[in-house]
């Protein structure tokens, strides 16, 4: 299968967006949904084909001396600023792009299928706006695919914005509810603020390096990939070094401009990936339909920031300062979000914080794989964190999508997001329960489920960086296991479910909704065995990894402790959680209130920024600028009124004025003559 099919993979969802969006209304809801699912199925098959061809196919120059090359399938110029500064819209296939193609299409297909059931009422009739929903899903899929195959940083930015837009549209799908409107505005504004920094970073970077391109086999010199050479990694280093050296002289506030650029770009990524303190939009984004949460706010869009950092990884390793920022932010966010997830009662919000925590894992993992000696020596196992991060991205997408879809099924069954409305659902929804359980095992890191393998690599990388980081991440991993099982027990066990109406008792959902759960659960079981260390590495060379029994053992142990703790506290109804909450009332409330971050933002924006900056500006705007304009308008207005009075239509008035004018002229003439 030719790699150029990647173009089709990207373009098909765009076509489906146009087709479903424009023609969907004429076709009826069911047919629209089925067409959307079938198109996505084709897209998924093609994406798998492309990925398999890229990783295992021969020829096409993607392997060279054991080094996997990036292949530029197409790269037409889109916008030419100058001869050297050209924005292109292309399709690039390299390990992470191919992997992301698989992740996005898989999750998207599952969500498409799942939505057939989820977006229907109890009689199986599709909801209002069904076609719009599917069109937006296709738009999102297109944007995300365009993002991952981008050949240059500007294309990434454009698709970043498009992803943000489709996220906005889908969060606000129930646009008649105020909460959804607030949530999508919040998401849009926060990510847009971050994107401002991203744009700044792009401008700085492209100004000093003179290119947007990442490069690639056919792409020539670029920021990341370079022409075919024997040792890509070292040449990458040389080129990047020279880039840094050329900009090294230019400093701003004590840091080189490239450090500033990369930090700004990271802020852009942090906005999309909901890193602290830009995470506040993600929990609110759960107002959207649950499949949307699964696709966008768990599996794909939120990892765009991770992907961005991974894409620019060869640059990041050169700038230790930027990497340290990422490391600190990532490690803190992982803990912070996990701490909040332990107390949330809304299951979607708990999952959202879990997502934030897991993405922070990936960020941390990227960051730990660099060290001070990066420029000097590239030691064995150097890119482990990078590989682990991508691996975790892959597995996390699968099991987090699974968890969200399960949550959706539960919500659909009990019509509530709050876990005190659930309890004891295991008997009513066995399939969902088992799938959720598998998802929890996967995220908790129990072998042989997917999460174990990827999280283990992350922990190994963290321990390599330093013992403190390793312990910190292990602790967060334990918290992960605890809060996931807390959610699981509170939903499915805890106490007997009270059924008020036997006709509307919760039950497993129709096959369109359970089939994706089963498929994703199956993937979660086996995804850990994908040989990522051979396929996805930062320098394209296979990485030799071995299961570090010490790390693996401790991580499993910690996970088991977390699970055991959760089991003790939440398996059967008991007063222990209540007592613990009371014992640590302040901490518990702080966690439940998400450590008052929203309130802090509210305070900063409303009290500080609005009062100190916006109010004076608004005053200036209203009174000086508007005042001046109003003055002009009023003057014109009153003048016009005056003039209008002149145009009275009364011929006698005209004669009067005419006469006076004539007399005035006559008088002037006479005076002039006489003088």
């Amino acid at each position: 299968m030719p790699l150029s099919l990647a173009i089709v993979v990207v373009a098909l969802p765009l076509f489906m967006f146009l087709f479903l969006g424009l023609v969907g209304v004429k076709m009826g809801r069911k047919i629209t949904g089925v067409i959307g699912v079938l198109a996505m199925l084709v897209d998924t098959v093609l994406a798998y084909g492309v990925a398999l061809t890229y990783f295992y196919g021969s020829g096409q120059g993607q392997m060279l001396d054991g080094v996997r090359q990036a292949v530029v399938v197409a790269n037409p110029a889109w916008l030419s600023f100058t001869d050297t500064l050209v924005v292109r819209m292309g399709v690039l296939v390299d390990p992470i792009a191919a992997m992301m193609l698989v992740v996005i299409t898989t999750v998207s297909l599952m969500v498409h299928l799942y939505s057939l059931g989820y977006m229907s009422d109890h009689d199986g009739n599709a909801e209002k706006g069904f076609q719009r929903y599917y069109a937006f899903l296709a738009l999102f899929t297109f944007s995300m695919l365009g993002l991952v195959v981008a050949t240059n940083i500007f294309q990434i930015f454009i698709f970043f914005e498009m992803v943000g837009l489709s996220s906005y549209l889908l969060i606000g799908f129930y646009y008649s509810t105020p909460a959804a409107n607030h949530a999508n505005k919040k998401a849009f504004i926060v990510t847009r603020l971050a994107d401002l920094f991203f744009l700044l970073g792009i401008m700085i970077l492209s100004y000093y390096t003179g290119t947007f391109d990442f490069g690639g086999v056919n792409g020539g010199d670029g920021l990341v990939f370079n022409p075919i050479v024997n040792d890509v990694a070292s040449t990458n280093m040389q080129v990047a070094q020279s880039a840094v050296a050329s900009t090294g002289a230019t400093t701003f506030m004590g840091c080189s401009v490239i450090a500033w650029a990369l930090t700004f770009i990271f802020i852009g990524g942090a906005g999309k990936s909901a890193m602290y303190p830009l995470h506040i939009w993600l929990p609110d984004a759960m107002e959207g339909p649950t499949p949307v949460s699964a696709l966008i706010h768990a599996a794909t869009m939120v990892v765009a920031g991770v992907f961005l950092v991974a894409r620019l990884f060869p640059l990041y390793v050169l700038v230790q300062g930027a990497m340290n920022i990422i490391l600190v932010v990532g490690a803190f966010t992982a803990f912070y979000a996990a701490a909040i997830a332990c107390t949330q009662s809304d299951i979607k919000r708990a999952l959202a914080f879990s997502t934030i925590s897991q993405i922070a894992f990936m960020m941390t993992s990227l960051a730990v794989s660099s060290n001070q000696n990066a420029l000097i020596e590239i030691h064995e196992g150097y890119g482990l964190g990078y590989m682990a991060s991508m691996f975790h991205l892959f597995t996390h997408a699968m099991f987090k999508a699974l968890l969200f879809l399960c949550a959706g099924a539960i919500i659909h069954a009990v019509h509530s997001n709050e876990n005190d409305k659930m309890h004891g659902l295991h008997k009513f929804m066995p399939i969902t329960s088992i799938c959720f359980f598998i998802g929890c095992l996967a995220i908790a890191g129990i072998p042989p489920f997917a999460g174990f393998w990827s999280k283990d690599e992350i922990l190994v990388a963290a321990y390599q960086r330093g013992l403190g980081w390793g312990i910190w991440m292990s602790m967060v991993a334990g918290m992960t296991a605890f809060y996931m099982f807390r959610i699981y027990y509170l939903i499915f066990w805890w106490k007997k479910h009270e059924v008020h109406d036997t006709h509307h008792a919760p039950k497993d959902q129709p096959w369109t909704m359970t089939l994706p759960l089963i498929i994703l659960a199956a993937i979660s079981c086996v995804a850990g065995f994908v040989p990522f260390h051979n396929l996805v590495t930062w320098d394209g060379k296979a990485l030799h990894t071995a299961l570090d029994m010490k790390v693996a053992g401790t991580s499993v142990l910690i996970a088991l402790v977390g699970i055991a703790l959760a089991t003790v506290m939440y398996f059967k109804e008991n007063p222990l959680p209540e007592r613990m909450a009371n014992a640590m009332r302040g901490l518990w409330t702080a966690s439940y209130k998400r450590f008052y971050m929203d309130e802090l933002y509210q305070f900063i924006t409303h009290k500080v920024i609005f009062q100190a900056i916006c109010v004076p500006i608004a005053w200036f705007d209203r009174h000086i600028i508007d005042g001046f304009m109003n003055l002009l308008a009023d003057a014109t207005n009153s003048l016009s009124f005056g003039i209008r009075r002149m145009q009275s239509g009364s011929i006698q008035a005209y004669v009067y004025v005419y006469l006076l004018g004539a007399l005035l002229l006559g008088a002037i003439t006479m005076i002039c003559v006489l003088l």
Partner: protein, 103 residues
């Protein structure tokens, strides 16, 4: 005592002033036309006396008056026709009441 040019201009001037006053104050359209005739007439007088006093050998002023009279006749005939027509439609010749053509 001599009859100077000046002495003829004085009544003409007063006649013109009366015409202006009437034109501005009257509401009846026919009365306005009458005031107009007064003004026209005073101009005619001026033409004639200037011609006669200053350029006695020529007749331009007189011919101007002649044509002015002819044109005044035409204009009055038309204006009165219009007034009568308006009266037929509006039952009124008050210039303040005829506002149908106003925007």
């Amino acid at each position: 005592m001599d009859l100077t040019l000046f002495m003829y201009l004085i009544p003409s001037l007063i006649m013109f002033g009366c015409g202006v006053y009437g034109f501005i104050t009257r509401k009846n359209m026919i009365a306005i036309m009458i005031s107009l005739e007064l003004m026209l007439n005073s101009v005619d007088i001026n033409f004639v006396v200037f011609n006669r006093y200053l350029f006695p050998g020529q007749m331009d002023g007189m011919f101007f008056s002649l044509f002015a009279i002819a044109i005044a006749a035409a204009e009055t005939a038309l204006a009165l026709a219009i007034i009568i027509n308006v009266f037929r439609i509006a039952k009124n010749v008050d210039i303040n009441q005829i506002t149908k053509l106003k925007f």
